[in-house]
Amino acid sequence: MKVRWRVLTRSGTFMTGVLIVAFWAGCAVCGRLIVPFDPFADDILNTLGAPSGVHWFGTDQLGRDVFSRVIVGARDILLVAPLATALGIALGVLIGLVTGYFRGIIDDLIGRVIDALLALPLVIIALLALTAIGTSAATVVVVIGIIFAPLVARTVRAAVLSERDLDYVAAAKLRNEHTVYILFAEILPNVIPPIVVEAGVRLGYAIFTVATLSFIGFGIQPPSPDWGLAVSESYGLINGGIWWPVLFNALAIASLVIGVNLAADGIQAAVDA
């Protein structure tokens, strides 16, 4: 474990990714305190102003400062995406442990459900589910978490399959340990590395999906300064030469997605090492 940690902190990929994500996490937590303008304050006399010394990234169609909104815009996506990932990991680990350990009919069933889920793009299943139960930050978390669960379960199940017949599991069985104890205290600690890798990858997908859903109006709702939402509110303006509200928000999404994926790649490399 210590060796892995050293590999991780010396990996340029991982550290670059972590720095980018840490920057946006900092903005999400205390962005409101450091931004030069109130991100929610309209200024009707100063709409669609180009970037200047006062408004670094210009102002949007309601006169709100784009720079302040981009900084604070990290907040909602960095709340929704990690929560959805955590829910998916928690459910998936539970299902994966049980199906990998017991196998049998439930195992086959989960395999088929995963195939069916994979037959549709994430955005389309999420769209269907969100239309059915209504869109809010909470339902986005639940829907993405539930869609992730079987995908995580498949990874965990594969790891459990290679552990379940090892001697330490047999020893625990002979000691007459409770099944719950064997699953969570014996097997789980040994399958943590693949779970951590999976969590990194899933977080990348969650951010991708939440941003996309917000862009098409099924994710984070106004008046949030969320980046995907901001792009969807102002991309009609680029034809008229108003590029700044769209570009800076798009770049913010791009940097966060790249940061998370760099960190996830670094973790993968450290676990493989």
Partner: protein, 319 residues
């Protein structure tokens, strides 16, 4: 296993997948929304009218019967009545599918040679600068959401350079070259999303084939490098890439929802988005299930072509 048995087994699994998929879509479209008639008539309609509409739409029957009714009609090509248009869903889905096929085909025609060339080029120069550049471009293009790359491309090619139209809708009656010209910009985000993954597959396959014994033998027996590359390396390297290409259809469909919305293009992705926005459940179910069917068929075709192209499977030597 012989090829016949492999195909039968694979087709049976696809049927189970489709059945589960239809159950999921049915649950999403008809169970979760609750009272559909109430949703159509609004909160102010009286209970009598709601019950009437429920009966009219057949929503007062047992669920299993509703499901059977829905899926058996769907299999016959009858996808029900749209709530918004008060007309059959199927013609809308078919028309939208035609538009999406045009866009998707263009994206595939562009991305397959590009990514294979990129991947093979990378593998031949493994570890050098060009390999790293292609790798980084591929990775960032794959992980970025389509609407982000789409908007950046619109800004560069549509607004700044002004060389490509920013709307996907060609003038009525335009010939095929004009249509392709209008579809070029919308297809680019899809090309980018697929490029990274396919190029990585082609690179890995080529590297594996380059390191194989048969390649060393071919080189040692004095074949020209070009002949080694074409006859020994690429024939083995590109097999997995071809299989993966077909499975990428699904990701393409997900991208279509965003790209068609961004470019206001009347394809199946745009249809699904509009149906979701208007809570037009029959239209939504028809669109989503159609996408699922196409994707499952694409997976089946991928496996079959893989089996047919690979002599080891074709002659039953390997699983």
């Amino acid at each position: 296993m012989t090829i016949g048995r492999i195909l039968t087994k694979r087709a049976a699994l696809s049927l189970i997948t489709l059945w589960l998929l239809s159950a999921m879509v049915f649950a999403g479209g008809q169970l979760l929304p609750g009272d559909v008639a109430r949703a159509i008539l609004g909160p102010l309609a009286d209970a009598h009218a709601v019950a009437n509409l429920d009966r009219q739409l057949g929503l007062d029957r047992p669920l299993l019967i509703q499901y059977w009714d829905w899926i058996s009609h769907f299999a016959m090509g009858n996808m029900g009545q749209s709530y918004s248009y008060r007309a059959p869903v199927a013609p809308f889905v078919l028309a939208a599918l035609g538009y999406s096929v045009k866009l998707g085909t263009l994206a595939f025609v562009l991305v397959v040679p590009l990514s294979i060339a990129g991947g093979v080029w990378s593998a031949l120069h493994a570890g050098r600068l060009i390999d790293r550049i292609i790798g980084i471009i591929g990775l960032s293009a794959t992980i970025l959401p389509e609407f982000v790359t789409g908007i950046v491309l619109i800004m560069i090619f549509g607004i700044w350079l002004k060389i490509l139209p920013i709307s996907a809708n060609w003038p009525p009656g335009a010939a095929l070259p004009t249509q392709i010209y209008y579809l070029l910009l919308p297809s680019l985000p899809l090309v980018l999303v697929l490029f990274g993954y396919l190029a990585r597959m082609a690179r890995a396959g080529t590297l594996e084939a380059l390191a194989a014994d048969y390649t060393r033998t071919a080189v040692l027996k004095g074949l020209k490098p070009r002949a080694v590359l074409w006859r020994h390396v690429l024939r083995n390297a590109l097999l997995p890439t071809i299989t993966v290409t077909a499975t990428q259809m699904g990701y393409l469909m997900g991208g279509l929802v965003v790209v068609e919305t961004l470019f206001r293009y009347p394809g199946i992705g745009g249809l699904i988005y509009a149906a979701a926005r208007d809570k037009d459940f029959p239209m939504l179910e028809g669109g989503v299930l159609t996408v699922g069917v196409i994707y499952t068929l694409a997976g089946l075709i991928a496996d079959v072509s893989h089996a047919l192209l690979n002599p080891r499977i074709r002659f039953g030597a390997a699983e």
